[in-house]
């Protein structure tokens, strides 16, 4: 399907507010791959990611009026909705039940070979994996698992100030990798 039309973010937002199916179609075609990688990198489970991606697009459709361009790009907003929806799922009961089953199966597989090598290559994880361990852990907990800085401080038993400093320096490192 060749896509000849190309809209700027503000044009797209205006079209979405008119709620036409064509606007939805354009949004989906141009953003689903990126958003799916975000969801998948957090959930690391295709079935769940499929459900959450649907949920994300429904949410975006319903909440487009809440998007404020003064606070950032449409893309950033979409990624944050995707990340939040994924983390909500991560915290939900049904996820935890499924995870237990999956971990049982994984133990069987890991003994035989690779399982995590595949999910480690998804989206932002690919880049985060280049960071040193101390930075990786903070981004894992904050970005991929959705813990607040306060929660991380309690979880790792290190002062909040240290968490803040370390998270920032992790992000500065990450930025250097993104630029490459």
């Amino acid at each position: 399907m060749p896509e000849t039309l190309s809209y700027t973010e503000s044009e797209l937002v205006a079209l979405l507010k008119q709620r036409t199916q064509a606007a939805f179609s354009y949004l989906y075609d141009n953003y689903s791959g990126a958003l799916y990688s975000v969801v998948l990198s957090i959930l690391q489970d295709k079935e769940l990611a499929n459900d959450v991606l649907q949920e994300v697009f429904v949410k975006v459709w319903r909440q487009i009026d809440q998007y404020d361009p003064g606070k950032g790009r449409l893309f950033t907003w979409l990624v944050n909705i995707s990340r939040n929806a994924s983390i909500d799922t991560l915290r939900s009961k049904s996820y935890n039940a499924q995870k237990q089953i999956r971990e049982l199966t994984e133990t069987v597989y890991t003994a035989a070979g690779s399982i995590n090598t595949e999910t480690d290559k998804i989206g932002l994880r690919k880049i985060v994996n280049l960071l040193k361990e101390e930075h990786k852990i903070l981004i894992e907990l904050a970005y991929f698992q959705g813990y607040t800085q306060d929660e991380i401080s309690k979880l790792l038993n290190i002062p909040l100030g240290t968490v803040k400093t370390r998270l920032r320096s992790a992000l500065i490192q990450l930025k250097d990798f993104l630029k490459k």
């Binding site: 939805f24 989906y28 975000v38 991606l53 950032g72 939900s92 998270l167 320096s169 993104l178």
Partner: protein
């Protein structure tokens, strides 16, 4: 406020990735209106972030698009109008 130092502190990355605390977000919003160079630095990082995510994108299974379209457009001719009652029918919890 040394704005250059602030720009390089990592707060921009934290904000864009959605990892800043509410008070940090509020501060950044205030400063952003005051310092155009901060605003520009945020936009620059958002751009880099978008390019990276796009470069690593993963295509979802094809059925998802039509599944969402069905949910959003199939019910009435005019497409979905904010239908609060219907939104409860999230099927995920099961």
């Amino acid at each position: 406020m040394d704005i250059k130092e602030y720009i390089q502190s990592g707060i921009i990355e934290q904000y864009v990735l959605g990892l800043a605390d509410p008070d940090e977000v509020a501060e950044l919003q205030l400063l952003r209106n005051e310092y155009p160079e901060l605003h520009e630095a945020i936009s620059d990082f958002e751009q880099i972030f978008e390019e990276t995510i796009r470069a690593n994108q993963v295509q979802p299974p094809v059925f998802i698009k039509s599944a969402v379209e069905k949910q959003l457009f199939a019910s009435t001719r005019g497409g979905e109008r904010r239908n609060c009652r219907k939104s409860k029918s999230d099927k995920r919890k099961g």
